[in-house]
Subunit: 156 residues, 2 copies
Amino acid sequence: MSAQETNGTLVPPSVHEAIGLRLAGLDQRYTPMRRVLVETLAQAGHPVTIPEILSSAPGLPQSSAYRNLTALMEIGVVRRVAGADDHGRFELAEELSGHHHHLVCARCGKVEDVHPSPRLERALGEAARAVAAEQGYEVTDHQLDLMGLCPLCVER
Amino acid sequence: MSAQETNGTLVPPSVHEAIGLRLAGLDQRYTPMRRVLVETLAQAGHPVTIPEILSSAPGLPQSSAYRNLTALMEIGVVRRVAGADDHGRFELAEELSGHHHHLVCARCGKVEDVHPSPRLERALGEAARAVAAEQGYEVTDHQLDLMGLCPLCVER
DNA sequence: TTGCGAGTGAGAATCATTCTCGGATACGCT
DNA sequence: AGCGTATCCGAGAATGATTCTCACTCGCAA
């Protein structure tokens, strides 16, 4: 089963619309390449490295991938997350992909998404505000990274 | 007032002892430079970049700083955390510095430590195990990053 | 059609980090 | 004390991810 068959749930047209509008507002264009990048990130379901992106879209020049990812970051559509290795990883902003946290394998560096229970989310939100206020910070966002071993690496 | 005068509370002798023992176990030495690095990280109270380390210890060669930080990472005494900018940040392992989370300023990249309330910590621990088990992960550690604006950047 | 601003791709440039290597230093052994 | 060996040190080169440059192309509007 290809991801295409279920893309209705993966990349709703409204997402592309929203991105197109934001780009237009800055006199920028939602080119096919940018669309491909957004689709790729959306369908991956976890933060993706540049090599992964390049191998999933053969022929795509590295410099263009970086340039467009940066452009998408600047309009707040894409976010960069740091993993265990020295490759940056890119994912769609939570605004588009839904709020989630990360499961990081300490051995192989893989990163997966996890979606928190409402109960945990409520506790996190409260705690974040309280703790941050103590130091004069104004928290807009939070992220929980769970470090451990993925199923494959557990078997050793 | 020099930091030396209060070092009793900042870097308990037991910490240096423990590090010395671990290094000895791997036929490595706890050299003065490594000791300085540990003191620096302990006294900073937040993750520190290489430039910060170098400017707080004039004359210290960059390559040596990296080499020794790496050595300390390999024995699990130092941990590397990624910030918003493209500089790695180093901190003492939680085992030595106490469990804590990070407050990250989205504007200036500064990172501060925050110490969680027991209630939050309990909720996080439980949630971590539950969520991770669902995907077959074995979680050993977790970290909460609170993103927002630091007091200085709020004033704009 | 023409003009202009944005996008593209190849390669060079940048910059944090890692590696290399000759010399200095510390610890174990006799 | 003297020696041998393994570790450590510092300076600079090498690596590699990311960013920049620039000439060319493309899409849109007048």
